[in-house]
């Protein structure tokens, strides 16, 4: 090897001298820029066929002496497509290098290190910044939707700033968390809304990931298999999402300003009856029930169309975002500063979300071997929510209210005051417009995520590093219901105040080793880590207010104390971990990792868990027998196995706890302590063992890259809050019982069908087919039953042998027609069916319809998910199109019970127009009936196919040509974008993508009065200086 270098140098020197002597030399100069028009410092400019060359300076400029006009210059820069230019008679040659999207030598971030993509042994989805943020997503998790095989993003609400749930390779836990671990620049952050929210305000939980500005993200790596996740030990079972933020580039300087503005609107409304139609329905309902008609429906024809309550609560809402960043560096230091302001009005009146994010990243070489650096991220967000997610037998969501309201009522009375409540039912619901405008529901979050490190290179191949990070959360929630709206009636008036302070700190010390010994390459890392989290919170609420003017700024004026409590919760972790990557002949790859995790949450008998993994990779292409096969440009086979844990259980689960109570003795109180939790010394993490087999195949010079993975993940020691007999004095105890299995197939392909310098087309498709099955549970045959929704219990149960989120209900059997013998129709005990009622299938030998006739009606998890993105570049234009969808899941549309009540006691969807009458003998919709014999029976009529395919995003971008040479400006692009453009689905609710209780594995797949999703149109630009 050494000899070769010598030779090159020798030839270089010789050629230099020779050209100096013999050539008809002349000088060429120019500038090299990247695809955004920014100068590319450090680009190699070499005369083809020689070793003579130069390197561009800070401004991207170069000067080179060429021997003659026949010379060809080769411009190359890592990560870009190499360009060649014939010199001809030119004396100035400016070149713009395009990003090399096909390059295999991409580096992928893994836990506690990074690896060349070609050396990966695990299953990792890597998403680059451009894919997520180029088109103005509102938050990181939104940007992940459909982007990686096996990663499902579930939204519980369309409210701006609302939390999402991400599932990597399915649900692994029933009682513990299912959210992946989020690691930002090496710092595991707190992502559980339960630990970051005081829950004093109403509405959906806020998104902990909102504190990260998508524009600051360099890359997102999703670790899916145990080879990647086992290094996160007891927190790795749900997968790990590594987020790397942007840093400055050496010897450069760049200012970027970008902005976008968009308009959002509800993606679709539910067609509802108008005032006349509801009155006609109401009259028919009372007639059928043989009760007098209601005065409010006296003369339907006079009522006209009335109020469209959906129109009243939905609006076209603007969203805007401004981003300024300044980054750069010298030879010894790099820096990045960014500021972001984001403001999103909600599509439901009275709701909005805004935030300011500031970030600074700095790295500096203090001495040749000593490096220091860090990053700070500060976010302040404010959310004004509307109540769309409260539970209850009567829907408390104003979206449900808007659907239920009588269109015959106006929003306001003639005197300008709000109409107080609906007039068709008792108890009545309130005016949703008044509720949205008058109820104040604010959450303010301040979050600081920061880290600092010091790294010392002991040897070229060995360094040590110490890192300190912290994640500080401050949350203030203020909620006020005034006395003059329906929601505030019982108080009257209500104020809830809550605040939460959370501190998460992490200290890690690591040793890194990296060396090539001939045919052996070894890299290893060992880390000692300590982390702790504490939260403190105070919550108070009062009711009985006389005056609405002060709102939540005057809780003291409330006369009735509802609740006042404070609390503390904390956990600590202490871990030792390590990994060795060994490569033989650059062909055979081995990764071994292990982590020993100690957690304060575990019982005394199980304080430490060990989580090992191994993975093997074989670069088959490097073998002789494939070298000659030109079609195959790369092939790697991967296999991995490992064990991870899930310690996402509430702190103190192992301890026998006494709670303080205030025992009354007359009007004097004394403190008492009562047993609250049973102890369990053996409580421990849930264990997931995962095996993965996959391969990466590149065809035709890697124009087509295919990745396939098959996995099986078995979770044992499932933590269950197992019911124990009440006669023990307790309702339940945390026990490690039960097991569950997730297996699946993942496929991703990236193709570059056209790659010439004026027109390029890149297309990426990913899909996964996950399968979940509960293997073992404790307790009765009923399994684990979800909480009832509008009084319907057992709508979904976790049962052995079935996937989590299996729906149970009756099968319908059409509508009873006139002339049918009631005795021949199995019906509910003690009730006689009449023509026009819905019939159900009797599944057993008895003659009655009851709970025993319930059958499986579907499941919440899709059989198949896919995402397909296309990127077309023509000259300076770029068009991206992203389509995404789920196939094979069902949704329980609880809204249908009120939308199709056919009682006249609330407004109905236009399905009511197809109701059964003696004339219109519908076999799908029953007759109108003011007092139906049965109500709220879950059947296949409410369980709908939730499959959809949706054009998620279309963006057209125009890059300002470099030729324009506008002073100062070094590049600019403009774009227009449309989101949630079009959806193909049979689902009749607002949006199949929303799942009301998505974060609770026991109650997935329900649609119940949520805040709908929006569709939006956005224009924006990005400029560099």
């Amino acid at each position: 090897m050494k000899r070769n270098y010598l030779l090159i140098i020798l030839v270089g020197i010789l050629s230099c001298s020779f050209t100096g002597i013999f050539g008809q030399t002349r000088e060429i100069k120019g500038t090299v820029t990247d695809h955004e028009g920014l100068p590319l410092a450090g680009t190699y400019v070499v005369i083809k066929g020689t070793t003579k060359g130069t390197v561009t300076d800070l401004k991207g400029s170069y000067k080179i002496t060429v021997p003659d006009n026949n010379a060809v210059l080769v411009f190359s820069f890592i990560g870009s497509i190499t360009e060649e230019r014939e010199v001809g008679s030119l004396s100035v040659i400016d070149v713009s290098l395009l990003l090399d999207l096909i390059g295999l030598e991409e580096v992928v971030v893994v836990g506690y290190g990074s690896v060349k993509k070609s050396d990966l042994t695990g299953s990792i989805a890597s998403i680059k910044a451009d894919d997520i943020v180029a088109t103005s997503v509102t938050s990181l998790d939104q940007g992940l939707i459909g982007r990686a095989a096996g990663v499902v993003v579930m939204q519980t609400s369309g409210q701006p700033g609302a939390a999402t749930s991400i599932r990597i390779r399915g649900v692994t836990s029933l009682m513990g968390t299912n959210e992946p671990l989020y690691v930002i620049d090496g710092i595991p952050i707190i992502s559980d809304p339960g630990a970051t929210d005081a829950f004093a305000s109403g509405g959906p939980a806020l998104n902990p990931l909102a504190s990260i500005n998508p524009s600051d993200i360099e890359s997102v790596e999703i670790l899916k298999d145990a080879s990647g996740t086992a290094i996160y030990g007891a927190r790795g079972a749900n997968g790990v999402i590594l987020i790397t933020t942007k840093r400055g580039v050496k010897n450069s300087e760049k200012i970027n300003f970008s902005a976008y503005y968009g308009i959002q609107q509800v993606s679709g409304k539910i067609p509802m009856l108008n005032a006349r139609q509801l009155a006609e329905l109401g009259n028919e309902a009372t007639d059928n029930a043989h009760v007098p008609r209601r005065a409010i429906f006296a003369s339907p024809t006079n009522l006209g169309v009335g109020t469209d309550w959906q129109e009243e609560i939905f609006r076209k809402a603007p969203v805007q975002n401004y981003q300024l960043s300044y980054s750069g560096g010298t030879e010894n230091s790099t820096f990045l500063m960014s500021a972001n302001y984001f403001n999103q009005k909600g599509i439901v009146i009275g709701s909005d979300f805004s935030k300011i994010t500031l970030r600074t990243n700095i790295d500096r070489n203090l001495a040749t071997k000593l490096k220091i650096g860090g990053g700070l991220n500060l976010t302040r967000s404010t959310s004004n929510g509307v109540i769309t997610d409260s539970e209850g037998a009567i829907p408390l969501s104003i979206v449900s209210w808007a659907l239920n309201m009588n269109p015959g009522l106006p929003v306001r009375n003639p005197d300008g005051t709000y109409v107080y409540q609906n007039n068709t039912s008792s108890p009545a619901i309130g005016n949703p417009v008044a509720d949205a405008m008058e109820v104040n529901n604010k959450a303010t979050n301040l979050r600081f995520i920061g880290n600092a490190y010091l790294q010392y290179d002991i040897l070229k191949s060995l360094n040590i590093k110490t890192t300190f990070g912290s994640d500080i959360i401050q949350n203030l929630e203020q909620y006020f219901t005034p006395t003059d709206v329906k929601r505030g009636e019982t108080g009257p008036g209500n104020v809830n105040l809550g605040n939460l302070y959370g501190l998460n700190w992490l200290w890690e010390n690591s040793i890194n080793f990296n060396k090539v010994f001939g045919i052996h390459a070894v890299s290893a890392v060992a880390v000692y880590s300590m982390q702790a989290y504490t939260t403190e919170y105070n919550v108070g609420s009062k009711s009985d207010f006389d005056d609405d003017r002060s709102g939540y700024y005057s809780i003291q004026s409330g006369k009735e104390l509802i609740q006042l409590f404070s609390g503390y919760s904390g956990w600590q972790m202490q871990s030792i971990l390590g990994r060795i990557n060994y490569t033989l002949l650059d062909r055979y790859l081995l990764t071994l990792s292990g982590r020993s995790d100690g957690s304060s949450k575990f019982g005394k008998g199980n304080k430490f868990g060990f989580f090992p993994s191994f993975a093997l990779g074989w670069k088959v292409k490097e073998e002789g027998f494939l070298q000659s096969v030109d079609a195959i440009s790369s092939l790697k086979i991967r296999i991995s196995y490992g064990i991870t844990g899930n310690e996402g259980i509430p702190p103190y689960s192992s301890q026998s706890l006494l709670y303080p109570v205030i025992s009354p003795f007359g009007t004097v109180a004394e403190t008492g302590y009562v047993p609250a939790l049973l102890s369990n010394d053996k409580i421990k993490w849930e264990t997931s063992s995962q095996s993965n087999f996959g391969f990466d195949l590149g065809l035709f010079q890697n124009r087509i890259e295919i990745t396939v993975d098959i996995y099986r993940k078995k979770t044992t020691d499932l933590l269950l809050l197992k019911p124990i007999p009440y006669f023990t004095g307790y309702a339940n105890a945390y026990l490690n019982v039960g097991s569950m299995e997730n297996k699946g197939f993942e496929f991703a392909v990236t193709a570059h069908p056209i790659t010439n310098s004026t027109f390029r087309w890149t297309t990426t498709y990913n899909m996964s087919m996950p399968r979940n099955k509960v293997l073992e549970l404790s307790g009765g045959e009923e399994g684990l039953v979800a909480d009832p929704v509008i009084g319907i219990s057992g709508w979904t149960r976790v049962v052995e042998g079935k996937p989590v989120g299996t729906f149970y209900g009756l099968k319908t059997n059409g509508i009873m027609q006139e002339g049918e013998d009631p005795a021949s129709i199995p019906y509910f005990d003690g009730k006689v069916p009449e023509p026009g009622v819905r019939k159900y299938v009797n599944q057993n030998d008895d003659d009655i319809i009851n709970e025993e006739d319930r059958v499986v009606l579907g499941h919440a998890s899709p059989d198949f998910t896919f995402g397909w993105s296309n990127n077309l570049t023509w000259k300076n234009w770029n068009l991206s199109l992203f389509i995404q969808g789920n196939i094979g899941n069902e949704i329980v549309n609880f809204n249908k019970f009120s939308l199709e009540s056919f009682t006249g006691s609330n407004n109905n969807s236009t399905a009511a127009l197809e109701r059964w009458t003696p004339e219109n003998r519908s076999n799908k919709y029953p007759r109108a009936d003011f007092s139906p014999k049965i109500s709220n029976v879950l059947s296949d009529h409410q369980v709908e196919d939730g499959s959809y395919a949706r054009i998620k995003d279309i963006t057209l971008t125009y890059h300002l040509p470099d030729k324009l040479k506008i002073p100062i400006l070094r590049g600019a692009s403009f774009y227009i974008s449309a989101k949630n453009v079009y959806t193909v689905t049979n689902y009749t609710g607002y949006d199949p993508e929303l799942s009301r209780f998505a974060n609770n594995p026991l109650a997935m797949g329900a649609d119940f009065g949520p805040y709908p999703n929006s569709r939006s149109a956005i224009i924006g630009f990005s400029t560099n200086f």
Binding site: I464, S663, Y673, V674
Partner: protein, 515 residues
């Protein structure tokens, strides 16, 4: 050479780092210790006298409000509402108006083992028993004044007895625990214990408590003392003495009389001359109240009792009228009509009209209003009124009932006892009315009927009726005679069903016949 030096110093650094790591690891044993602050780990509790007192105080929270949150299934303590609602709706006294299926089933005797009211009472009793057992296990080793400690243990034993008495009265044989439950995994199957054994344990607890209550320590405001123990023992002996419809145990019945007389003659309690005074807020824990369960909305809106919510009708006009009253339960006509119009208890027990602050009158069907001190709490809810678990009138009626049973006919003591109660009911606050004359000259059966009727009128919604009807073995007869709509009591309703939930978790529990 230079190279080597670098390597050595580098090695030293590595070693130092490793050593630092080891030091941290060693200290880490403590680092992983978990210290709850919102609650206290039981290992750090039961150390001092104040811990012993606080542990015992906890019992009173379980009796009244309970630990569970508003939306948890076990919301409310033993006497929060289910107890007194269940005893009267599952009888000829009251009907449930609202749409709760569990209440309605209890009201018309169609309930089964899944009934949530029955289940939640079962749980409340056992939760309180487990707390008492915890105190009885962990307080004795605490270093403190011994007689004071014994007084605290006596409280725990008293309430354990109170809970077990209701368990055996309602379910017959039940699982019996005298030690705290400590490990969820280990608590498996528990067979039901013969109620005779549990009665013995109850009496043993009460005897011990009686001896160890300290006169001068923890008095008043709902804490029991030796007379409270005597009073409860009277109830225990009376219940055990009346075995089934005909068989009885004269020895137990005599003990019931003796215990009741100790309380009556203690001089500690006296009957209020006016029946209405029993329920005045200013009279709580005094006069004839032997054991009152504390509720206090003054302390916390959520520590209010549920009487106005459940019992008073909805009377609201804007901001005027009653607050949060739902009128979920109404007395049967049979109960209302069983009172003579001049019986003081009729006007105190029922409400049939209301005058709004603006002077408008409204009249309605009768609702139970005895717990409502309208002067002190004009808005109704939230209310400070206590639940009265034991009061002196019961002692008189025990003397009357047991005296009649022992002698197969009333003796003079029995007449005297029941006539004390009738005399008080004649007093309307100003003078005695011409109603409820003193009883005399009755045979066994008529006197027995008279006692049952007197108890019915005296103790409406005080948690007695189902117990009385089962003890007198007249549940079916009386409910059928009351023409309460749809109510069809059966023989098996003399016991409550063992909750299905617990049966599924412990197959050895078995079920009472009929369910």
């Amino acid at each position: 050479m230079a190279n080597t030096i670098i390597k050595v110093s580098a090695m030293r650094k590595v070693i130092l780092c490793l050593m630092a790591g080891i030091v941290i690891s060693l200290s880490g044993c403590e680092f992983l210790d978990e210290e709850p602050k919102t609650g206290v780990a039981s290992g750090n509790f039961y150390k001092t006298e104040s811990d012993a007192v606080a542990a015992t105080n906890g019992i009173y929270e379980f009796l009244s409000f309970g630990l569970e949150g508003l939306f948890d299934p076990g919301y409310g303590g033993v006497y929060y509402n289910q107890f007194w609602i269940a005893q009267d709706i599952c009888s000829d006294n009251a009907e449930w108006l609202a749409t709760s299926l569990d209440h309605m089933q209890l009201s018309d005797f169609s309930f089964d083992a899944n009934n949530l009211l029955v289940e939640s009472l079962w749980w409340d009793y056992y939760k309180t028993i487990n707390l008492c057992n915890t105190i009885l296990a962990y307080v004795p080793p605490i270093q403190m004044d011994e007689p004071r400690k014994d007084n605290l243990l006596a409280e725990a034993r008293f309430f354990r007895a109170l809970m077990y008495l209701d368990l055996v009265r309602m379910w017959g044989d039940v699982p019996y625990f005298s030690d705290p439950v400590t490990d969820g995994e280990a608590e498996g199957s528990r067979a039901r214990v013969d109620k005779a054994i549990i009665y013995d344990a109850i009496i043993e607890d009460l005897d011990w408590a009686e001896e160890h209550f300290l006169d001068e320590y923890r008095k008043g405001n709902g804490r029991p003392d030796q007379y409270t123990a005597n009073a409860l023992e009277a109830r225990v002996y009376l219940t055990r003495g009346m075995i089934g419809s005909t068989a009885k145990n004269p020895e137990d019945l005599q003990k019931a009389i003796d215990c009741a007389n100790i309380v009556i003659n203690s001089g500690k309690y006296h009957l209020w001359p006016d029946y209405a005074d029993i329920f005045k807020l200013k009279n709580s824990h005094s006069g004839e109240i032997i054991l009152g369960i504390n509720f206090s909305s003054t302390l916390d809106a959520f520590k209010a009792n549920q009487f106005p919510v459940v019992l008073l009708p909805t009377l609201k006009k804007g901001k005027d009228g009653l607050h949060n009253t739902l009128g979920l339960l109404i007395p049967t006509d049979n109960l209302y009509d069983s009172f003579d119009d001049l019986d003081r208890r009729k006007s105190v027990t029922f409400l049939t009209s209301y005058t709004f602050p603006d002077g408008i009158d409204t009249t309605f069907q009768p609702y139970v209003s005895k717990y409502w001190d309208a002067q002190a709490e004009p808005k109704g809810h939230p209310s400070d009124a206590d639940f009265i678990a034991i009061r002196l009138a019961e002692m008189y009626l025990i003397v009357a009932e047991a005296g009649n049973e022992i002698n197969n006919g009333p003796n003079q003591a029995a007449y005297d006892a029941i006539n004390v109660i009738r005399k008080r009911a004649r007093f309307d606050g100003i003078a005695e009315q011409d109603v409820l004359p003193d009883l005399s000259g009755l045979d066994y059966t008529s006197f027995r009927d008279a006692v049952l009727l007197e108890r019915q009128r005296e103790f409406v919604m005080e948690g007695h009726r189902w117990f009385d009807l089962t003890r007198f073995h007249q549940l079916i007869e009386k409910v059928e005679a009351s023409s309460k709509p749809n109510a069809t009591p059966q023989d098996f309703h003399y016991l409550m069903p063992i909750p299905q939930r617990d049966r599924e978790l412990d197959f050895n529990l078995g079920q009472n016949p009929g369910y």
